[in-house]
Amino acid sequence: MTDTAISVRGLNHFFGAGEARKQALFDVNIEVGRGSLTILMGPSGSGKTTLLTLMGCLREVHAGSVRLLDRELFASDEGTRIDMRRRLGFIFQAHNLHDSLTARQNVMMGLQVHGRGDPARHVQAADHLLGLVGLGERLTYLPGNLSGGQKQRVAIARALVSNPDIIFADEPTAALDKVSGMAAVRLFRDLGRTRGTTTVMVTHDPRILDLADRVVTLEDGRIVEDRRASLPRNITPGPA
């Protein structure tokens, strides 16, 4: 075991083929330490989601290396990727809940991926997580009856319920109000401190930057800035 949760080296990524072939990532290098909270920033179309899905085993790595928890994803087989996905918690840009399942059932799916288990324990764990994100009163609601922010919180609970080693979150706070957005990020950071859970998160929210250990900025598929919290900050976001 090393202290590095994620190690990206020389990562390039292309979409399409032939004439339409377009490069979305250019020689990306990044090391993420265990238990840290890293924020990915950058304008729309800069490649944040692409990078996140490559690290999250949702896309095949074609060029370069991505090591996740000491497993190489480049040229990995589907079995390896499935094993890795089970150790991750992914929170999507769109909440991606299952419409016909209640909030509780959606969260339970995060546990059922690990096998049969005790259904009563699954219910208990799901209810506990939903309580943590403030949805203790909405356990049996279908997604159709939840607000955008509530749905996003269900998605957060689903990602956390199986105690993942790494959390990938793609603009999870976009649909959340100020209070619950901050609460979610604090939850990620606390999990990092207590359990060593690593979080990589895309966000545009300037208030959250203060909670991060590190802020990485992408532009046109390249890392243009990589700031550690320990370093002095000389840029104030927003208009002067």
């Binding site: 899905t53 949702l58 499935i82 094993d83 999507f92 299952h98 799916m109 991926v113």
Partner: protein, 392 residues
């Protein structure tokens, strides 16, 4: 229901919950499955009624008899004739206890302005009741009076109600082949694809009606065997008794099965029905595939999310099988009911022997489940190849 299925499957019954979540789509999917069922049932019903109508005339005979037919004949009704001599030759065999000739011919009954029915006539010896279906033995005796007939109440295109009360004491007159006949009773046989009805007359009356035919050349000969005699062996021994290649000798049931096979596989009508069954099945499977692949497409984003959570292809196959089995098992019943109604309407309108058999219902039920399951697995393949990130 959810709890029961969850226990059964060892996971949340995603397929069931998905189907129940959208009643409109569920009803459409069930309608698709039911329609596919009706299609297959109708085609099987038509093919079955074709086979059934071929078999009907053979049921007039006792099933344990041997039937002698001209060699070149594949069918009962289109056969040429054979010498009655063959009957006397057969009686020499120790296991043959008796025999009777059968005379067959077709006639047209002009029953109205421009309505006509094709009638199959059987000329039978009135005292040969033992060779025929038990229910015929009594009525046959009443044919000994010249120019009498037993008429078929199920004859198509004719209103047979006036014959309902025909008895030997009060015969109902009618005219055929230019002769005045008296109906002295009725039978319920029915036509099929080859004709519209069956009339029975005595052999003597038959020669009056068809002067070109003689008692020396029957259409077929029925032979009764001694109890315990093996029909197959006797048939072989008789074949050797006759000049080579003159006569075809088979147990009645074998001859019936052979004609069904012949009519279904070598005659245009039968081929059309067999083709209809094949088309019905193909279209049924295509509909099942459409229903299930549309369902997969509708849920692709949700499945991709599950895939991102780390579920394997086996899980998705399980979900689609769950849906396929539910759809097949529920959609079958309205399909069965509609098919039954369709059969009844068709039987009523055309008098063809079309009806549901338990074997057919079970076969279609199993076939529906298999078709849906297979379609579902095929439809799920597009998920297997996809990367989750491309599906959101």
């Amino acid at each position: 229901m959810t709890a029961f299925l969850a226990r059964l499957l060892g996971r949340l019954p995603i397929g069931y919950l998905q189907l129940m979540h959208n009643p409109g789509r569920l009803v459409a999917a069930l309608a698709g499955v039911a329609f596919a069922n009706v299609l297959v049932f109708v085609q099987l019903g038509l093919a079955g009624s074709m086979a059934e109508s071929v078999a009907i005339p053979y049921r007039l005979f006792q099933p344990d008899l041997l039937i002698l037919s001209p060699l070149e004949s594949e069918t009962l009704s289109d056969a040429s004739t054979l010498p009655r001599q063959r009957l006397f030759q057969a009686l020499v065999h120790p296991d043959v206890t008796g025999g009777t000739p059968i005379y067959m011919a077709r006639s047209t009954w002009l029953s109205g302005q421009d309505a006509s029915s094709s009638i199959q006539f059987f000329g039978l010896a009135p005292d040969a009741g033992e060779f025929f279906h038990d229910a015929l033995a009594g009525p046959l005796v009443s044919l000994s009076l010249s120019d009498t007939a037993l008429v078929d109440t199920l004859t198509r295109f004719v209103d047979m109600r006036s014959f309902a009360d025909a008895t030997p004491d009060a015969p109902v007159p009618f005219e055929m082949q230019g002769r005045q006949l008296g109906a002295v009773g009725t039978v319920s046989i029915g036509g099929g694809f080859g004709g519209d009805g069956v009339f029975l007359v005595s052999d003597q009356t038959f020669f009056h009606l068809f002067p070109g035919r003689s008692s020396a050349t029957p259409s077929h000969i029925l032979l009764a065997l001694a109890p315990g005699a093996d029909p197959g062996r006797v048939a072989d021994e008789l074949t050797r008794l006759y000049p080579p290649d003159t006569v075809r000798i088979r147990p009645v049931t074998t001859a019936m099965e052979a004609e069904v096979r012949y009519q279904m596989t070598e005659r245009p009508t039968g081929l059309i029905f067999a083709f209809g069954v094949a088309i019905g099945m193909v279209v049924g499977i295509v509909i099942a595939y459409q229903v299930l692949s549309a369902d997969v497409a509708d849920h692709l984003r949700e499945y991709a999310t599950f895939k991102a959570l780390g579920f394997r292809q086996g899980f998705f196959v399980g979900v689609i099988l769950e849906e396929a089995i539910i759809l097949a098992a529920i959609g079958f019943w309205p399909g069965l009911v509609f098919s039954q109604l369709f059969y009844q309407a068709l039987a009523y309108l055309t008098n063809i022997p079309i009806f549901m058999t338990p074997e057919r219902a079970v076969a279609v039920f199993v076939g529906t489940i298999l078709a849906c399951a297979l379609s579902g697995i095929l439809a799920m393949r597009k998920l297997a190849a996809a990367q989750p990130a491309d599906l959101f």
